[in-house]
Symmetry: C2
Subunit: 210 residues, 2 copies
């Protein structure tokens, strides 16, 4: 992942600080997912990003801080959408469908499969608590939306089931690297509504044309 | 994971070869899932298993061979059950429910969460092809059973959706180490039947009392 030559700089950022930061994140993401987190040194990240190793420490406390930022990026956009959807006027099945549709795109659509990093032994450590807090909040939002959209009330672990089906795209993408993301987005969103007991009519009404 | 002192030996195996082999697998599983695969040496496995390093190489070609055997063990029992269930006389929803129920127990019930090893970068390598072949066969069995049990035919990726929901217990167990496995077995098995469009009556008939 070599630095793109002649890449334009943002006008308010003449020294390219934001570009450097993003180049480091991109390079680290690619290395963590291909070589592995443990086997990747900050030196290797610097080489792949085309920056000096000192530049990495200017932006990040270290490898853990880079991993944390990457992990947060796999949840934050979906959580922001979920927070907005909880109060939106659309019927609950449509709001849940939209959230699943967007979350699957986030997990399955980026340049690398960052979700595989969720199960790293290192991620259980205290310094990754902000990631676990965010993901627990997303799970709670799924639970709220699923409870509001559900036809029946027998499952009291709906949030975990729904998040599980959404995040199953992580392993699916690993099995099929050239996944057809728009097809999988609709398939998983429809499946989530079936899982919580919505009728075919409700599902047809909830899904939006892509 | 210290070697249990005074552990009885199988009668037909006076030198404890099978015990040594299993001790190595158990110790490696615990280390791979806690310390990580890359960070675990065969020396560390030998120490944890209470055997000499040479004993490991008597049983396994190396660390990759140990990992392969552990991975095969997370699929082989479910595949054998699936092969038997495909030809069994029970209605398809009941057969699918039984397979999910057993597979969730296999993934969520062992002493360590071996499923987290599925996403290791190393597992993409050629020497792990036997694992990927077995898992693809299990996915195909899920697809067959789900097609036979399904009320409607709109989803042509049922096998992937169902296997995804089953394997979602890997991340769920990571989030909640003290998961109530019998409860999750029933919850996921019921959810799989809802996902493929079975009615509450069909699901009640398919699920067996535990």
């Amino acid at each position: 992942m070599a630095r793109r030559p002649g890449r334009p700089r943002a006008s308010g950022d003449p020294h390219g600080e934001r570009d450097t930061r993003q180049d480091v994140l991109d390079a680290a993401a690619a290395l963590f997912c291909s070589v592995g987190f443990t086997s990747t040194s900050t030196r290797a990240i610097a080489d792949a990003a085309g920056v000096r190793q000192a530049s990495i420490y200017h932006h990040f406390a270290g490898k853990d801080a880079i991993l944390l930022e990457l992990l947060l990026g796999t949840v934050q956009p979906s959580l922001e959408l979920a927070d907005a959807l909880v109060a939106a006027p659309e019927p609950a099945p449509a709001r849940l469908w939209s959230l699943v549709h967007a979350d699957v795109a986030l997990l399955a659509g980026g340049p690398v499969n960052l979700g595989v990093l969720y199960v790293l032994p290192e991620v259980a450590a205290e310094q990754f608590a902000p990631f676990h807090v965010l993901r627990a909040r997303l799970r709670a939002r799924y639970s709220e939306l699923a409870d509001a959209a559900a036809a029946r009330s027998e499952a009291d672990d709906r949030g975990a089931l729904v998040l599980g089906l959404v995040e199953s795209v992580i392993l699916r993408r690993r099995d099929t690297p050239d996944l057809d993301v728009p097809v999988v987005q609709r398939s998983v969103a429809d499946a989530v509504l079936r899982l919580i007991g919505c009728t075919p009519t409700q599902i047809a009404a909830a899904s939006t044309p892509s």
